[in-house]
Symmetry: C2
């Protein structure tokens, strides 16, 4: 299993430590890979607070307060759920920023509207100066389950780095 480049995580670590911010992750389709990539780096306890691996819908509700009605209305792989996961991760941690992912890693679970490779990303920043901000984005990755998951980790952390820079 490949993960994000160490260089990307090092840059993210440096930026978060400069700001004095902790990070929390909320992962569905990547199942802990984003948290694992972050904690690959020695000293990550200085900026990584916790990770929520909310694989089941019940976990999204229990751990992150994602409303069940939101999941029922839009599906677990959707913009409102990605945003709610990102906000929930900050609300239920000591972190000032978060990244959340929910997608269809495959090979099963795809549909015409949400084919395999579809991933919704959410990022939430509790920025004192700018106020709270939530960003969301949808991407569709090619490849098998492992490739979709790897690409998701990479994009999640790359965009987080941009947002905190």
């Amino acid at each position: 299993m490949l993960t994000a480049t160490p260089q990307l995580v090092e840059q993210l670590a440096e930026r978060l430590m400069q700001k004095g911010w902790m990070l929390a992750t909320a992962e569905s389709c990547t199942g802990g890979m984003i948290a694992a990539a972050c904690t690959d780096l020695a000293g990550s306890s200085n900026w990584f607070d916790r990770g929520f691996v909310t694989y089941s819908n019940e976990a999204k509700q229990d751990m992150l307060n994602v409303p069940g009605a939101l999941i029922a209305a839009h599906g677990a792989v959707s913009e409102p759920v990605a945003r709610a996961m990102a906000r929930g991760a900050v609300a239920h941690s000591r972190a000032r920023c978060s990244v959340a992912v929910t997608g269809v890693a495959g090979p099963g679970g795809g549909s015409e509207a949400k084919p395999v490779g579809t991933v919704w990303f959410g990022w939430h920043l509790e920025d004192g100066a700018a106020g709270p901000q939530t960003h969301a984005e949808c991407l569709r990755f090619d490849g098998d389950r492992a490739q979709v998951r790897q690409a998701t980790v990479q994009h999640a952390l790359q965009t987080l780095l941009k947002l905190v820079s």
Copy 2:
């Protein structure tokens, strides 16, 4: 990053599905790698419920109800904390069994009593027939941070497979 062999995860999946049990993970030093190894397997939503990446001490308290006094008295890398993490993972999920790890992955953080490579493992099973059982074990792994983390994932899942078999 290498993780547990796919064969091990496949055997675990088969056994858990036979029993109709869900799994929850509680990870400190591995930072999500055990959850990631489980969810590498397609269809893991049938038996993997959620993962708690409780990297900070606050996360262990908030997410798993590990008493702060226990951490203060024994340290985060200790048998009572590993047991409390394993029990907390089942108590705060829909899972019937859990695996928990807390250790010193290095290169920093070691001490004479708990050198780099020291890992406490906990496993909790809510077995209707046999009643609730918590197991704990301490191992000391050689190698660098990545090797200690990989060996921890492997042992956590190997022993879990034995316990549910």
